[in-house]
Symmetry: D2
């Protein structure tokens, strides 16, 4: 098994290939009686959809999940919930050359090895970023279920091409078309994206996610802590190459006296003065906002010619990846990161 | 369950508290016939032991695992392998005040919430860094099993207090008393640790780990990829607050043309010119060295007075953590990170 | 999670309700390159389909699985394999009274309690025997994969209404419309079924399954042995109330000298003279045919008036279950039992 | 993994070989704050211990579990609970011939195949019935935790050598030295055991277990129902070859009108008039006593000469198993079956 996340309570399975008849997901273990707002879910999915803006690939289709079971009159019924999204816009392009000449930065080569020649290369197969759509279906549903418990999950672009967005943020930022606090920084990011595209190149960035309202005492030490589970799920989003909590790698450069979050009492509640721990101590929530960041590598599909190898002749070759590609997938990764966090947190909270 | 890692084949359980009669681990699912070199294992465990040097806490005891089952004539016999380490040096100190006034940066507060007053606070209980000893027993055994397959797992100190160690490294570096390539940088790190200690403070750092000899094609996309599993295990090491693979967070600042690792042919084998991917594409090994880094926060136990709260009176209090503590746990985290990586990789390779 | 079987390698999820838009299954963890013969699969599914004969409910529809992902050119591609079956023949009958007056022998009452009023009662919801269709899709595929390795899984009716079928059997029996060795016994069983139906009643029986060609040495002691896993899967077939291996409950009445299977050498291979162990010793296959039986209770839906309770008024009520129902589901359980066995065995053999 | 049961919440690992330094178990996932009565636990373990009576093997030692972690002041502390039992009475007997000439009815042959010559044959290794001691430690603890919730788990001898015990029973029967309701039947069973022993033979039987006080609504359909989980655990007890719930295999011979349990109202509660379902409908408890039976094969170790094979020469040989052995293990299986049931039920109830 590779595409099933068996958590404490939930078993989430993501299925489909980029160009198979459909992609989808099943959430097993969801309690009965959770209301599902399909309009709100669609709005969430639209944040991930391609082609929303000129910095993204041209719009092709809306991702409309079809719930084939698990719902009754708008509520979960206790049976597994399955949603599928039909792949209507698959082009009968020839992907067979990826089998012979793998694209740098993609999984073509490793998939060929692992699946012994049976990999579905079309559109990247099961490795495609398109599979974040069913991840977002699952996560979007669980975001709603969390919100009903007063827990919110919001992310934003923290950095693109080295340009940072600073300041606190909430859902109003997460839902912006370009989710940054500082729109001026956002403009500079967009310019960097456009420049990269004009140069046949791409850029990466960092997504920051915050979970608010999580009760203190959720999680576990050792292998099933909040950090372990969130990291496990966030690395399911293609292109993520790093995950850090609270001060993260910056903590490595701090003194203990600086990094330790002093406890304090605010409005009769125990809190911490700072939040370098990102809301997690010993794998367990401490009641402060849970905060983490994920590093997103630059889109591997670029217009420039790249060096690859011909796996049949074992000789080096120049490869040019065709088609139009997102010069930056960070904006579309934002809801996927929220989804991954929502799945991890919901599984621990029920 | 929180302290059991149920992987593809292995189920590893870590048990014990800092001051319980014993701590230990069980590895279930290990094939029969694996030779165990207990001397080599002891050498590995000694790398983790406290008190080896003057930058660490004073030596108290050697961690001597006792194998109570699972071995026969020096080979695994197919039954679960259990090793325990007796806690001989537990002092009957009074830890009850941690229940009322939690230490900043520790799990005292969150454990109290989660375990509803039944937590074993003595020495940090199950949250103690001491539990990395059984993790190292498991990882040390699996490092041997991996080595028999030509796979090596080595780590070093990549950074302490902002001072970096550069350059490639191998086992000879990993096994140094202070595992850095550049001993001059190491001297500066040691000075920074001593300075922090003199000031009643602590410092953090970064551990870098490399897995060599891993065949290409190991791993999976989505939830059970190499990144997911390694991250899940590495976050089991207390104080780790971030994990990144290959270029990691730096990838976020690179262009695609720069980050993509061009394929090439060397000695008749497919390799990549650079290794920004850290040996992983789509969650699957590509045959290049698997490389990752973990951020280790500064030791939360510091000599300075800190602000905390009295959970009974809900008033703020000043707390001074007594006893002697490592001003920097990064050197001792090095073998623990190797252990975590070895467990993740071995589970995927068998 | 309840409808996901996370085995050693496979994760099988069964989804859908009797009258939801579709039902289906996902097999995650299947190796790439397994050929799928959809015609042979359809033949297998037809063995389970209702309405094949006059002892069954009238024919409504063929169960035609639609593979929406995981296949490429007739081979598994390594990505999760998902098949759905559309529920075309759902009648908009009113099932709301089952919520108030549960049917004896059905899960109406327990589902109402567990799902707090959100259960999808229509046609039995997720508890319906219809869900054995996706189980048979999974099992039918794995039967093919096993056959390619020389392992066959065949079942037959061993008993209906106390009438036994004796003698050894193989696939030719399993594939009969009424799968018994002794057709005369089969005639008596059919007569018993018709009599029960005429009397507004139903009968139960026993299914016997044999797995041949399983190599010796497959399985594990303790919790993950062949018996544990097969039993776990076979109890997923609704109406199964008992599972026994080899001599089973009859072993309880035997002497050790009689029950122990003496080892012998036949054609240079180690075998046993008898097979009271059903091919399993210590949870591990011994190379003899793996043999087990499952007890199937009489169909709970009967035409006769039955005593139930009104859950709103907490008063006793007489209930008459409407519609036509199988007076005996044993024949249709035969392929479902084969499917369960194939899933358990395949998961252990890869 | 084979000796780890990863349930909904709990992960139970059983470790040790018959003659290793120690055997034991770890329960991970147990809530903090559960009181442990070690005297009551010892009484429970004594029910399993050998040598209590003249129908059993001569007394050698008491099984005294040593809790090495997970307890604090008599309560679980939230960390994994590990107990070990030292093997003090291991005799340095030569078991090497079992490697060459396997005992009929034992796992010697299958273990040799599976573990490729590295199996620990001494005393049966990990396959030994001795491993039910740690199973009983886990189950005994959880029986206490269940009792605190009003749930009792009791078993009795339902049949030995074809002689049945009839009538309802409770804890007072379960705790008898020879746990039967009808002592006259018990006398006949004892006589049958003595006769078998005198003839160098052994007898089997059936254990019946009842769980009372289980709230309605516990369990799940499909793979994680009460039947699935109980069966999975009960088959971990060596020598069990069949498991049936409620009417079990007898249900196969009943009419639906007879088998269906009519609902009724008693003292304002919904109950059923009969309990052929054994308290389970659709995998979920219905509030009636949960009832199941397990078939226990006759002890495979018998004094008579038996036919085996020499695995080196591939020739048939006569084998005589030395030492004294229980001519009937059914009485000692009674607490082990209770333990298995308690583990399954507790895991589902928390």
């Amino acid at each position: 098994m590779s595409s099933s996340f068996a958590g404490q309570k939930l078993c989430l399975t993501i299925f489909g290939q980029s160009h198979s008849e459909a992609i989808g997901m099943t959430l097993d273990g969801l309690p009965a009686g959770i209301p599902v707002d399909t309009d709100a879910l669609q709005s969430f999915l639209n944040r991930r959809a391609p082609g929303r803006n000129d910095w993204s690939t041209p719009r092709r289709e809306e991702d409309r999940p079809e719930f084939i079971c698990g719902l009754r009159d708008g509520f979960t019924c206790g049976a597994p919930l399955t949603a599928i999204i039909h792949n209507t816009n698959t082009r009968p392009k020839d992907y067979s050359k990826l089998k012979i000449t793998p694209r740098p930065g993609h999984a073509d080569y490793t998939a060929e090895l692992k699946f012994g020649g049976f990999q579905d290369f079309s559109g990247g197969g099961h490795f495609s970023g398109r599979l974040t759509a069913p991840l977002c279906v699952a996560g979007g549903l669980l975001k709603q279920a969390l919100a009903a418990r007063g827990v919110t999950v919001d992310a934003r672009i923290a950095e693109i091409a080295g340009i940072r967005d600073e300041g606190a943020f909430d859902a109003s930022v997460a839902e912006k078309p370009f989710p940054v606090v500082d729109d001026a920084a956002g403009e500079r990011m967009l310019l960097a994206i456009q420049t990269a595209r004009a140069e046949g190149d791409s850029v990466g960035g960092v997504v920051e996610c915050v979970v608010r309202g999580l009760p203190a005492g959720i999680g576990s030490p050792m292998f099933d802590g909040l950090e372990n589970q969130i990291a496990r799920l966030v690395f399911a989003v293609p292109a993520v190459k790093g995950v850090e909590f609270g001060a993260g790698f910056e903590a490595a450069r701090m003194r203990g006296s600086e990094h330790n979050d002093a406890f304090c009492v605010r409005d009769g509640r125990v809190e911490t003065v700072t939040n370098h721990a990102g809301g997690i101590l010993g794998g367990i929530s401490n009641g402060m906002p849970l905060l983490f960041r994920a590093a997103v590598k630059p889109t591997p599909s670029i217009a420039r010619a790249q060096q690859s190898v011909n796996l049949e002749t074992l000789s080096e070759e120049t490869l040019t990846v065709e088609g139009r590609h997102d010069p930056c997938i960070v904006p579309r990764a934002v809801p996927a990161i929220e989804a991954a966090a929502a799945i991890a947190v919901y599984d621990m909270i029920i």
